[in-house]
Assembly symmetry: C2
Homo-oligomer: 540 residues x 2
């Protein structure tokens, strides 16, 4: 009898060892793992009663305890969970739901008006289930309508079936910065292997942001985002106390960090930035000095590490993608542990070392591995037991990104350093090719961000008649400060060009000062939108 | 394309992140992981040339770097490694080799006389390969004969094949304290899952003996023993520096701990005891104060924890068996971390909490789970992704120990405490049933060991005319000390019976003072031999 690595089995450890540890949703709900599991059983039995076993179930909610219940109960009963990106435009949401052919939709009460708009376009839906902080009765034209809490209340004990580990557990969509979002799907086994890879990489070392079962984790990234959906399974597998913040609100998060003793979180850099830049952040210094943050989804700039350090926050970078979540982690090696911080941060601020079992190659245009010289850029390829096997129902896109040896071509460009850490220099589509030479937008942004008045910077390619492409920069000044194009250029000249750190032809042709960066639905800076905005600009 | 969890993949992380970390065999050999891998390739290519791909290959050696190479190269090339218990009697070794039908035998030069005796009885063997510290030429009647170092020298680069994860990687035999040894076999996936289970259980916490990739591990238990063969794969997966001590010699081990900076080891209690009781142990106090020890295979007595603590050694108990290696680990929970040591050791000195993914039940004679009252004893059942699926080529014995739901019946008797930690009270066959009531030999031994002159104690059942069975004790005094039967009985009366800690009928009927305990081939106290010795004793 073969053992199946299924999501159900991540619950064995916490239910046995930590049945009374808590899962907390804001100041609205708190219960133990034991109670959590009872609710999983109850809601699953009710879902089965309404015909949702083996169904595809869309979930549209903030990071609430009800959503966490759905993340376990739905795949554990043999159904498929579709984590809907609620920040997509309604027509994009319709696209993803029609693509999955969702049978049921679980939706937070505040989104009912959206649901009513979607309903006529998703004929596969056989029922709507409403979550919310206080849902008694639901007034809606949707039908049939159920209430999540009623399903829990009316449910009974339930034996979750023994599933084949290769059955699909979760599907969600890439954020789609290049064309239509693509459906990424994971089997139970891939979810479990993600937990294991992330767990080993983050805990079996002596690095500053080390994770353990003694941590209290807050789930900051939305559950429809890569790291967002992995960490709840990982935290459960290790028996951590879990804190659910609902939607992203810095004040609420700071209070939760303090009041619930949160010590760990992951997310894109802007989530940490907003906490750190909150006007009252200093007041939370005691709590933040125990807080660790794993930065994923986007290369965090050095200044963010410095600001984090001032508050006592321990921070590392990591690299993953929707297609596989955890690839590399910037944990320190043994011999770096007694280095001073200035030297450590050079490594903490890289994408990091491949996790156990993850294979990484960086290859040039001919598929040859590049040397570990920190200079030669190539495309990053990945093989991992936590990787999806391809895009769901899309053999064409799958064939574009996977080769016949199982290597996933990430489309990210990076270099190796001599210690085997990756630095990601660009998305292939973001790289700037000026006069046949590559300019790394990520490195150039880093230089601009060292200007004391700059809060955020994004560098993209603009069309140039002579050079084909030239870099332009978009800059957000720090609150209450101002900066001019000339000041930025002068700063770069003086500190980087004249000191020999940067070639002169890397200087951006234009610097635009703006109030705010456009962002993707998962909080990354949206470079496609910036390129779009300046598409008519033609440089000499 | 599905990802196969195979042994090859435990090497990705160390080869990438720590190619220059060392693997050290005494003061005889030291090389890096990079060189280790080159040697794996070379030896595998030569083994293939002599027809050993897909073969069953027996290994008879101490814990040397050559054996470590065999543990990886052999299964990685698609052959099966048979770890021979070299402490078995020659006829038992023949039995195990005939059972496996070994095609090749790798044998250390000092055992060649043994090999020559075995050879006529194992006709399946097509070749003999000799390891050793300095093997130039081999004088033997065996043929054909190869030399391991020649195979390495003559070998070339080699692409280890992509194997199915369910292929058999390793086979070895239970120590056979009850009848003929049984063949335990593990697939590649089960080996990998063992690494993962042990790795997560030992690293993702804040417990005293926590393991990380920054540790230097010494492989004390012989590789033919459960923990012995798991930890090398685990240490490799995490990229630890590894130290191979050859055969067990306390002086050599203490020197290696000091000179190589060893911080971690596992093993049966007697291994630690012999280090601690070495006359020069105090001289190694600095090095030992960084040393962590996971005690497996036998319940260590409380006094061992106390002696370890005096030297600064951090120690925890764990529970595994040949059939599955890592089941439970006595790591501390978060709320115990600031307890004083006296209170902590009550938990450190239990078999511990089930590791992630390991399911444990303790059931009474009717198969019902016993309450967590620390009193009600039952048999321990296990399900785990690292468990063998049964005894090799032995459906009958498999059916005796596995039920149709995949539960392995360990034959160990234990209780749960209120925190979910197991305490193992006896092997089913060691338990004493006096007048219909159970006496735990393990608990009674613990009481006797509190006597200041006692070094070791074993309690077994002897026949009684009136009570069916009665306990007798065998006691080894501490070096240079003496103790009498009457002193032991008086001590138990005064300290345990009169204080109400122990029922009077638990007092052993006889206490025998001996110079030495009989031990099994893996270093456990051999209770079968003790029972055998006193089998003609009949108590009133």
């Amino acid at each position: 009898m073969r053992y199946n690595l299924t999501i159900k089995k991540t619950l064995f450890f916490p239910l046995h060892a930590f049945p009374n540890k808590e899962i907390v949703y804001r100041d609205i709900n708190r219960y133990t793992y034991r109670r959590f599991y009872e609710r999983l059983q109850r809601v699953a039995s009710s879902l089965e009663n309404i015909g949702a076993r083996g169904a595809k179930i869309a979930f549209i909610d903030w990071n609430t305890h009800q959503y966490l219940e759905g993340m376990f109960a739905i795949p554990m009963m043999g159904s498929i969970l579709h984590c809907v990106n609620l920040r997509l435009a309604p027509e994009e949401i319709v696209y993803t739901m029609r693509y999955v052919e969702d049978d049921f939709v679980v939706i937070r009460d505040e989104f009912l008006p959206l649901a009513e708009k979607l309903a006529p376009h998703v004929p596969s839906v056989k029922g709507w289930i409403v979550t919310g902080d206080d849902v008694d009765k639901v007034e809606t034209s949707l039908k049939p309508v159920y209430i999540w809490e009623d399903l829990v209340k009316e449910g009974s004990s339930y034996d979750f079936p023994e599933l084949d580990e290769h059955e699909t557990a979760v599907v969600y969509f890439t954020s789609g910065t290049t064309g239509l979002p693509k459906a990424v799907h994971f089997s139970h086994r891939q979810v479990v292997m993600q937990c294991i890879i992330n767990g080993l990489a983050l805990s079996a070392n002596e690095s500053p942001a080390r994770m353990s079962s003694a941590d209290t984790i807050m789930h900051i990234p939305p559950f429809f985002h890569g790291m967002g959906w992995t960490f709840p399974y990982l935290a459960t597998m290790l028996g951590m106390k879990q804190v659910l913040p609902g939607r992203y609100e810095p004040q609420v998060m700071l209070d939760l960090i303090k009041n619930e003793g949160v010590t760990f979180a992951g997310g894109v850099p802007v989530f940490l930035k907003m906490l750190i830049e909150h006007p009252e952040a200093e007041k939370y210094k005691d709590a933040l000095s125990k807080f660790k943050f794993v930065c994923d989804g986007e290369h965090p700039q050095r200044v963010l590490f410095e600001r984090a350090k001032q508050l006592g926050i321990k921070m590392i970078e990591a690299f993953g993608m929707s297609e596989g979540v955890g690839f590399t982690f910037a944990v320190l090696k043994d011999h770096m542990l007694d280095w001073d911080w200035e030297r450590q941060v050079e490594y903490l601020n890289k994408a990091g070392l491949p996790a156990p079992f993850v294979e990484v190659r960086i290859v040039d245009d001919e598929g040859k591995e590049v040397p570990r010289d920190f200079q030669t850029m190539g495309e990053i390829l990945i093989r991992s037991p936590g990787l999806t096997e391809g895009y769901w129902k899309n053999p064409e896109k799958t064939a574009e990104s996977w080769d016949e040896e199982g290597w996933f071509h990430t489309g990210d460009l990076g270099v190796w350093d001599e210690e085997g850490y990756i630095l990601i220099l660009d998305r292939a589509k973001d790289v700037i090719k000026s006069g046949g030479e590559w300019i790394s937008s990520v490195r150039l942004e880093g230089y601009i961000l060292e200007h004391p008045a700059v809060s955020e910077a994004a560098v993209v390619a603009a069309r140039s008649e002579k050079w084909s492409e030239r870099p332009i920069a978009v800059v957000v000044p720090k609150p209450g400060m101002s900066v001019t194009e000339k000041e930025i250029i002068d700063f770069l000249m003086k500190n980087f060009v004249e000191t020999g750190k940067m070639a002169k032809w890397w200087l951006p042709d234009r610097v635009f000062i703006v109030d705010e960066m456009p962002r993707t639905t998962v909080g990354k800076i949206n470079k496609r939108a910036i390129r779009e905005k300046y598409k008519d600009l033609v440089l000499p």
